[in-house]
Amino acid sequence: MPDPVDPVHFTADDVAALQKMSGVPLAADRYELIAAALSASRSAAIVRTIEVTGVEPALGFDPRWT
């Protein structure tokens, strides 16, 4: 299994770019804090270590699994 600890580090500039794309209203003086929150999750990198080719995304629980 690939090493799950592969953190993605976000900077204030990254947050500024994301903010511009999304249009979400965020104060510029919070970019550093938001970058830290994004970095702390590291989840983007962790999720990509699972091979999902051919797997359909689904919401919730499928009761047929019994």
């Binding site: 299994m1 799950p4 947050v15 994301l18 903010q19 999304s22 979400v24 209203p25 965020l26 919070r30 804090l33 938001i34 830290a36 929150a37 994004l38 702390a40 999750s41 590291r42 989840s43 983007a44 990198a45 962790i46 999720v47 990509r48 270590t49 699972i50 091979e51 999902v52 797997v55 359909e56 995304p57 689904a58 919401l59 919730g60 629980f61 499928d62 009761p63 699994w65 019994t66």
Partner: protein, 460 residues
């Protein structure tokens, strides 16, 4: 000093739901006598524990008076008749504000009951009050509440007010919600029983979501039997919740009292036990040995991708919370705690591609759990790797690692939300006066079997 329910206490507020219900049905205890006792308990102890976000003693007593009048003429409508039940402050109650533990949300009263609140009223339960949640349910400590076992420690979260209330004797049962462990974690840290049913078993319309695809409503109580009674009254299809299962009603109490002899419990070989506090691991292992003494076969199992689950869960919660709490973050951002605010703001910047990737990875996790559960009936592990952290503590040691309190507390519970499985936390011991919980995870829709094993352990 602790503020727990003493085992030798004979006051009505110390009764379990099962005991109180039986006494009411027999005419030996009136709903008013029960409510008066609980109100007195709350008013004496709440200043120390701080479980309630909304408390109106006069309204509780008026409802109990009405129930007592009804009981003079009619048989109780259900086992919940006259029983005070508290609600996490994420669940709508007509005429009372739902603030999700946040000053950023308005004091506007809810216009209608949530599905479960309406079910409780139909059953004759008395809505006791709203209890604290970690802000937006986005955390595991519930800073506004204290742990009745030791006020210097956290009750856990996000349903920390529910755990504290049940442990302190503020009503025998409380309804919480569970996104990644938010019913089971406070149950474990407060020494009570907490149950997250199979996803879709309890209707969620009228609750405020953190994560639409992961959130589940579940009860916290002082016995497994109490949990089963509660579920029997509130479970069922909710046509306003698109994730609600339209399946035949489950018989939650159907297997209670049946011997677990012949069932098999799987013990994961690693991950869920790695870095556990030695006292927690010892209590967990002793509890699994006890299950063996009760006739269950205990065998080791492997659960693939266990170390990936928290990352996948965070990805899903981040993406969904970015939408679900967006308005509050936009309108009242300055009133939100810094951690919760930056978490929600970062969610609003979430990549749709990454979110979909997480949903696909979730299917891999579901398949891993389906395979892991195939040769066993349920899986056992410590609910949390540590006992209750001190209030205000943000980082703790788990084995030779230092990590955030949130990452530690959610480590063993997230899997049941990702895979949609029923999971129960039961008290199995203490370390330095703080409770230890064991988690039992079962197959989907086999909630009754999980409850039966928990009942067998806790009554043995």
């Amino acid at each position: 000093m602790t503020y727990l329910v003493p085992s030798d206490c004979t006051q009505p507020w110390a009764l379990t739901l099962t005991e109180a219900s039986s006494l009411i049905a027999a005419g030996r205890l009136s709903p008013l006598e029960l409510a008066e006792s609980i109100v007195a308990r709350v008013e004496a102890v709440e200043p120390a524990v701080s479980a309630f976000a909304h408390w109106d003693a006069d309204a509780v007593l008026a409802a109990a008076q009405a129930a007592t009048a009804t009981a003079r003429h009619d048989r109780p409508a259900s086992r919940l008749f006259g029983i005070p039940v508290s609600l996490k402050d994420l669940i709508d109650w007509r005429g009372v504000p739902t603030r999700c533990g946040s000053d950023a949300l308005p004091l506007t009263p809810a216009e209608a009951d949530a599905h479960v609140s309406a079910q409780l009223r139909r059953s004759g339960a008395i809505l006791l009050g709203k209890v604290h949640t970690h802000e937006f349910a986005y955390g595991t400590t519930t800073p506004r509440s204290c742990n009745p076992h030791d006020l210097q420690h956290s009750p856990g979260g996000s349903s920390g007010g529910s755990g504290a209330a049940v442990a302190a004797g503020f009503g025998p049962v409380s309804l919480g919600t569970d996104t990644g462990g938010s019913v089971r974690i406070p149950a474990s840290l407060c020494g009570v029983v907490g149950f997250k049913p199979t996803a879709g078993v309890i209707g969620r319309s009228g609750m405020r979501f953190l994560s639409w695809s992961l959130d589940t409503i579940g009860p916290l109580a002082r016995s497994v039997n109490d949990v089963a009674i509660m579920l029997a009254e509130i479970a069922g299809h909710d046509r306003r919740d698109r994730a609600s299962l339209d399946v035949p009603r489950l018989d939650f109490a159907g297997e209670l009292g049946r011997s677990p002899r012949g069932l098999t419990v799987g013990i994961p070989r690693d991950y869920f036990w790695d870095g556990c506090d030695p006292a927690v691991a010892a209590a967990g292992l002793a509890a699994t040995e006890r299950l063996g003494e009760l006739g269950m076969t205990v065998r080791p199992i492997d659960v693939p991708y266990a170390d990936q689950v928290v990352g996948i869960g965070n990805e899903i919660v981040s993406g969904e919370s970015g939408e679900s709490v967006r308005e509050a973050v936009t309108v009242g951002a300055d009133l939100i705690g810094e951690f919760e605010r930056s978490s929600c703001e970062s969610g609003a910047l979430h990549s749709g591609v990454t979110y979909l990737h997480a949903l696909r990875a979730r299917e891999v996790i579901k398949a891993a759990w389906r395979d892991a559960l195939a040769p066993v009936d349920l899986v056992a592990m410590p609910t949390t790797p540590i006992t209750a952290p001190r209030r205000g503590e943000s980082r703790v040691r788990r084995g030779d690692r230092e990590e955030s309190v949130g990452a530690t507390l959610i480590r063993n519970t997230y899997c049941a939300n990702i895979a949609g499985l029923p999971a129960l936390s039961i008290p199995v011991g203490f370390q330095d006066g703080l409770p230890i919980g064991l988690q039992l995870v079962g197959k989907p829709l086999q909630d009754a079997r999980v409850l039966a094993v928990g009942h067998a352990y806790t009554t043995s």
